[in-house]
């Protein structure tokens, strides 16, 4: 086509949002190869390996181990998600501004990032699961949604990672520089960890705030999937064992009781009784509860995306 012909048709129709999404998706996958974005995948393997090594032993075996392990897994997902996208927009903000001036649709740009990040998050969730399974971390035997428990766990890991990823994308769309984004990130990370709602004891007034965090819904989902309420609780037993030599009026009553329980093979029964007193209704092995967690994660993901798109629409207002 000659220049003249193009000039005559150039006011007709230009690539819409759908076509633009694919153009940017192509760019992002090229960046994956050429700009070392692929490094987040081996990083995910290293982090999940460390976590599985440290806290994987008691995951889905005891209540305490499940709580600690599920929290650590949720943290791995948050960490992965944050690092995937915290710099992706702010590092090329002037370029986006230039392209917006030349007809870029912000929604297409964000959509391309969403698809690309979904690919990264899915890969990271798969890697995390692969590492955990290979490091002999217990995977629940029963599933709630699909036929395979590992797939259910994988979906949860993906949703938590993706939710954190989109939150980081939102931060990246607000921050003017990578330094600003990296300054905000630890603060967000601390909020996510503190307000998980399960691991740290929070005052009752602060509990509604936990609904804002992906860690809360991730931790809850992982505990539901591991049937937390059916697991034994060992902390009371362990504490009692530590106190076995405490003497009361020249005798060691705790040692006697513990010996009696051991001799009569009633330890497991006691552990289960102890667990019954500490069951949490929100961790019941129930399909609707798990779906609720997933919906919350999806909800926050959508909120972050919508806000990011709206804020990026104002990119032209950036100071020169």
């Amino acid at each position: 086509m000659s220049t003249e012909n193009m000039a005559s048709t150039k006011k007709v129709k230009h690539p819409g949002r759908f076509s633009q999404t694919f153009i940017y998706l192509g760019k992002l996958f090229r960046m994956f190869l050429f700009q070392n974005d692929w490094k987040v995948l081996p990083m995910a393997a290293i982090i999940s390996g460390l976590v599985a090594f440290v806290v994987g032993g008691n995951l889905y075996k005891t209540m305490e181990g499940t709580m600690t392990g599920a929290f650590a897994l949720a943290c791995v997902c948050i960490w992965n998600g944050f690092f995937n996208s915290i710099q992706v927009i702010c590092r090329e903000r002037p370029i986006v501004k230039r392209e917006h001036r030349s007809g870029l649709h912000v929604s297409s740009y964000v959509a391309a990032h969403m698809i690309y990040q979904a690919f990264l998050c899915a890969a990271q969730a798969a890697i995390t699961l692969f590492v955990c399974i290979n490091l002999k971390v217990t995977i629940p035997g029963e599933s709630l949604i699909t036929r395979w428990p590992v797939v259910d766990i994988g979906i949860t890991l993906f949703l938590v990672t993706y939710c954190a990823d989109m939150l980081a994308l939102l931060v990246s769309s607000i921050a003017r520089t990578t330094t600003a984004a990296m300054t905000v990130m630890p603060f967000l990370l601390i909020v996510q960890l503190l307000f998980s709602g399960g691991f740290f004891n929070l005052p009752q007034q602060a509990m509604p705030l936990t609904n804002l965090t992906a860690t809360k819904w991730g931790l809850t989902a992982l505990c539901i999937q591991g049937d937390y309420n059916s697991l034994p609780m060992v902390s009371i037993w362990n504490s009692a064992v530590k106190l076995k030599n405490v003497e009361v009026e020249g005798e060691k009553p705790l040692l006697e009781v513990l010996s009696y329980i051991e001799e009569n093979n009633r330890r497991d029964e006691l552990l289960m009784m102890s667990a019954q007193q500490n069951q949490k209704p929100e961790y019941t092995f129930d399909k609707s509860l798990l779906i609720e967690c997933w919906i919350w994660l999806a909800f926050w993901t959508i909120v972050y995306i919508v806000v990011a798109v709206v804020l990026l629409e104002f990119i032209d207002k950036d100071k020169r």
Binding site: M1, A7, K13, H14, P15, R30, P203
Partner: protein, 443 residues
Amino acid sequence: MLHNIGENTNYLSQTIIYLLAVIGCWKIFVKCGVKPFWAIIPFAREYHLGLCADREEDGRRYAILSVITNVIGGFSGLFKTDDIRVTATLLILLLIFIIPTMIYEFRVYMGLIAMFGRSKKWILLFVFFEAPTIFAWGMLKRFVPKRKVTDYAGLTEAKTLDEDVSHDDDGLTVNINERTAIDFFKRKVLLKDIHMSIPKGHMVLLLGGSGAGKTTYLNAVTGYEKANASIKLGNDDVYKDYSKMLYDIGFVPQQDLMRGNDTVALTLSDAATLRLPSSVHLFDRMKRVNEVLEQFGLTAVKNNLVEKLSGGQRKRLSIAMEFISDPSLFILDEPDSGLDGVVARGLFEKLRAIADEGKIVIVITHTPDRVIDLFDDVIVLAKDAKRTGRLAWYGPVKEAYEFFGKSTMEEILLSINQKEEGGEGRADEFVEKFADYMKERVG
């Protein structure tokens, strides 16, 4: 009773401190040429202190932060509670805002000390004995600022043309009445009374000192930042048909804003896909990409990563990205920045060739004289007495020399620059002269 006496003394000392600060600020504002009544108005006082210190932005932030800090402080005073959580939250909030308030206060006073030409040690007195120090600076005659704050609003503006130029069916017709912006509740006129008609095939130099409104003018012309104006490219209204005109106007920014880790060919190919109409077939698009690569001398490096290109190659790629859609109006903001003379000359020759194809090419450059022979016309923008960007000349290059009585573009620039910028400060004279010249021509 003792308690009451203590309270009364406290109120009295606070009132004295407040009065000292107000009187001191009043006098300082008089010395600095700021309306003194601002000293009475809390928070506006902080902003105007910033003006006196020649740190308007810091003064603005200081004022805003002072408002927030006082609101939180007042809130904590009103709602006294025994709940440690509420108290702690308010305390943390207060700390969050008090720290930056103090920092900006510090910056404003440092600016004030510099403006009054005093030793930096004074900052200690400003921090620890703020009110008496302000009072002393206001009352004592030996504390005098180096220069006064200029109230541009009170100055008389240069004569205006106030008449639109007639529309050119082929070229670019610019009739900007005014381009304003609201900045911290103040309306600023950035550009005013700019009228011209640029024929197609012309390569135009956009000349102007720092802050004269060159980029504002270009943004207004391209419709990126709309002004109170009528901009027509051929028969199309740039503002009304902005979404369509977007692709008919190429704007090359000063920085090379491209992704470094993509190849030259793919960068250009993506630009082509984004900017060319959807109806253009893939084959034609690739043909166009190859043509443009060839035209800009990038074929040999088409498979190289953008970050590996030289400064000149990168600049050419940046231009090629806009040129790919074959725009009628081509605007370049300092395309020769960072390039040596030979490379810059080569680049401008390419732009001349583009203009010769029937395009309008408008270029900002800070070193115009080395390539001035390639330009047809020159637009000279100047800051008038009110610091508004005004048109001091639009027309052929040779006539510009006669109009300004100078022999180089740099001399023209010096003549219109303000005196504090090292120029001759004749902007208003030429703005009025050009308005008269245009009136004669427009009739």
